[in-house]
Amino acid sequence: MSKTRRDILALGGGLAAGIVFTPVPWKILDDASIWTQNWPWIPQPVKGPVEWKESACTMCPAGCGLKVKMAGGYVVGLSGKDGALCALGYGAHQMNFHPRRLRVVYRDGRPSTWEAAEAAFRKACEEGPVAVVDGRPSRSVSRAYQAWAAATKGMSYFVARAPEEAALVPLARLAGAPVEELAYDLEKTKLVLSLNAPLLEGWGGPQRVQRLWPELKIVQAESAKSRTGDCAWQRVSIRPGSEAALAMAVAYVLIDEKLAPATSPRPPKTAADHARDAGVELNTVLEIARALAANRPAVVIGREPEPAVAALNILLGAVGATGGVVRRGPVSGAFQSMDEMPTGLRAAILDSTVPHDHQPSGDAERFRFTAWRGEDEKGWLLPAPGFLEENPDGAGDALLKPPEGVRTLAAFLGVEVKAIESRPVAAERPLTCRLAAWPQPASSASPPADWTGPWTPAVLPPLSGKLYQESALFPAPEKGLLA
C-alpha cells in the first residue's frame, strides 16, 4: 500500500470516527425524519381563528339549515342546524373548488364571454318570447324575478318542480288545488306504499324520510333494486313501467274487499289482470291492500306523475286526511311549471337553482346559470356563485366571496332584490276530492334497471353526483361499496 494512500486512509478514518462524536449525523437524522412529517407539498389547513356562522344549504331544494365552521375566511366544516345533513351536504363546501367548477362563460361547450352572452340574451328578448325559470320560488330573489317578468314584455316566469312535487300534479288536477299547496303529511303516516319512489335516497329532501323511517312502514314496489327497498318493511319487485298496473290492482282489491267506498269507480281490468301486468302474484296484491287498510293513515307515493296513484290515494281516503296528502297555504301564488312551457319559446334563462335534469322544452335558446359544468350542455353556460357564495335567499350578503367572472341571474337581468320581511305561515286548509271515473293511466317511466344512484345528486348538477362518488364514499367509482 502506497504511503499517500495510507495517509488518506488515516485522515479519512479520523474524520469518520470524529464526525460520529459531533451532532452532525444525529441532528441530520432527526431533521430528515421531521422533514418527512412536514413535507412542503402536503397541504396545510388555513390558519386563523375559528368561528361558527349560520346559513342554509343550497345543494338541493330541501335547503337544510347549516352551521358553518369558518377559519381565515374559508369554510372548513359544516354541520346541520336542525338534524344531520346528507352525504353530499357534508362535502358541499369542497364543491366550490371542484375541477368542474364553472369560471368562464361557455357556449355549446366552447368558452365565450359575458359580453357575447349579454348580446345574445338582449337579441333573444327583442325577438321574444323568453322564459325565466326558477328553482326555488319562495326566495326573495324569486319575487324579484316574478316582478321583473311581469313588468317586461314577452317575458314569463316558470318554476322547476322537484320530482316529488311534480308527482302530485295529477292529484292536484283532480282536487283542483295548486300543486304548490299540496304536501305529504308523512310525519303522521303509518304506512307508505311507494311505487319506485326513492324515499330514503333524498326524496323530498335528503333527510326527511330518513328521520321518519325507523317508525314508518314502507312497502317498496320497485322495478330496480334500491337502498329504499333494502330498508323497506316489505319489498315487492314489479315490472318496469307497471306502477299504474299495481296501483289499479290494489285499488280493485280495496273495493272488492270493502276496504274502500263501494261507490268508487272500478279500474278497467280485474285485479288478477292488473297484477299480471305488474308482474306480481295476486295474493301479494291482496297483502298490500290489506296492509294499507290495516295501517291507516297510509299513503301511496309514486316516483312519477301518475293519475292511478292519485286515484288510489283518493280510494284510500288519504287525500285531505292527516298522514296523507294535505293542503297547506296560501303560498306566494301558483306558478307555471316549466313542464307546462308553451312551445315556440325564443329563449329560456335558467336560475342556478334549476336542476340540470330540467331542460326547457323545444328549441328555445338556453341560458343556464350554474356553478358547475355538466356533462354536455347545449346553449349558454353562465358561471354563477357556488356554495355559500351567494345568500341562500338571494338577498343579503354571502359567507364566501365568489371568484372572479361569476355573476348572479339577478345581476345579469339587472333586477334589484329586496328581502321579504314577512312570509305567510302555511296553515292547514281543507282538501276534498272525489273520484268520478277511473283516470287514464299515464305511461309512467320507471328508473333504469341499473339505477343505484342516490336521489339527492340526481336532482343536482350531474357533476355533484360525480363528486359524491369522488368523495371518500366510493374510492372506486365503478366499485361502489354500497352499490
Binding site: 372548513v76 344531520a84 357534508y90 328521520r211 354500497l482
Partner: protein, 254 residues
C-alpha cells in the same frame, strides 16, 4: 404542582352503540368523517381496496334481507392487536379516554398493525393526499393532514375532543362537558343510529344501550374487548357478530 391543576379528570372510556336497525346506509357518516378528518378525494388509481374510509358502511345481505353495518375502529381494549404489534409506539391505548390512537407522525408505514386488525379498520396512505387546486382551503384546522406512507384510522374525531377540552379549560372545568364532544359520524347520522359516550359512566345512554339485550360486538370471541357495540332486533343481524358454521357460509357463497 399548582392547585389549579387539580382536580384531575377521571379516566373515560369512550364507546359507541350502533343501532343497525336504524342505519339506512345513506353514507352521511362516511362523507362527514372524510371532511372532518381531512381525507383527500381518493387518488384516480385508488380502488375500493386502497381508498381511505375510516368509517365504512358495509351492505350485508342474507337470503334477500339487507342490513347496513357501519364499521370503524373498534377501539379494542384488551391486548389491543395494533398497539401490541407496533414496533415504535405509534399506536397506543390512551389511558385518559380509552381511545386507540394512531399517530401518523410517528408511524413509519410498516403496516404490521393493518395485518393485526381483525376489522380491516386501518388504512394506509398509498399516495400523497392531493386536493383539487384551492380545495385545501377547506381543510379542517383541527386535524393534521397525513402524508403518504403512513397508516391512519378512526381516532374518534380527536380534533373535536381537543376543541372540547380547550373549551373546558377556558371555562375552568376539570374535564370535557359530554355535550361538547361527539364524533362527527354520530352527529351526521340522520336516523340517530349511533349513540356515543363514556362507558365508565354507568348511567350514560351508551352504557345502558351497550348492556341492552340486543347489543352485540363483532368478533367478541377474539377477546380484544372492542368498545364499539352494535344492536339489532333482527336475529340474523346479531348472527353477524361471529362467523357462523362453514356450511351456512358455503351456501351463502354458492
Amino acid at each position: 404542582m399548582t392547585p389549579q391543576s387539580k382536580p384531575k379528570s377521571k379516566p373515560r372510556r369512550y364507546g359507541m352503540v350502533i343501532d343497525v336497525d336504524r342505519c339506512t346506509g345513506c353514507g352521511g357518516c362516511m362523507t362527514a368523517c372524510a371532511a372532518e378528518n381531512n381525507v383527500a378525494p381518493s387518488d384516480s388509481r385508488a380502488t375500493a381496496r386502497t381508498g381511505l374510509t375510516p368509517m365504512l358502511v358495509h351492505r350485508v345481505t342474507r337470503e334477500g334481507r339487507t342490513a347496513f353495518l357501519p364499521v370503524t375502529c373498534m377501539q379494542c381494549e384488551n391486548e389491543t392487536p395494533c398497539v401490541t404489534v407496533c414496533p415504535q409506539q405509534a399506536v397506543e391505548l390512551d389511558k385518559a379516554t380509552g381511545i386507540v390512537t394512531q399517530m401518523p407522525q410517528r408511524c413509519f408505514g410498516c403496516r404490521y398493525c393493518m395485518t393485526a386488525c381483525a376489522y380491516h379498520a386501518r388504512y394506509f396512505n398509498w399516495w400523497d393526499p392531493v386536493w383539487p387546486p384551492g380545495m385545501e382551503r377547506t381543510l379542517n384546522p383541527g386535524v393534521a393532514v397525513r402524508m403518504r406512507g403512513v397508516v391512519e384510522k378512526c381516532n374518534f374525531c380527536h380534533g373535536r375532543l381537543h376543541e372540547a377540552e380547550d373549551k373546558a379549560a377556558a371555562e375552568g372545568l376539570a374535564s370535557v362537558n359530554p355535550a361538547d364532544y361527539r364524533p362527527v359520524c354520530v352527529e351526521a347520522c340522520p336516523t340517530r343510529a349511533i349513540t356515543f359516550g363514556d362507558l365508565n359512566e354507568p348511567a350514560s345512554e351508551v352504557s345502558l344501550a351497550a348492556k341492552g339485550p340486543e347489543a352485540f360486538r363483532l368478533l367478541a370471541r377474539l377477546g380484544t374487548e372492542p368498545k364499539i357495540y352494535y344492536s339489532s332486533k333482527r336475529e340474523w343481524v346479531r348472527d353477524l357478530a361471529e362467523r357462523g358454521p362453514v356450511e351456512r357460509r358455503e351456501a351463502r357463497r354458492g
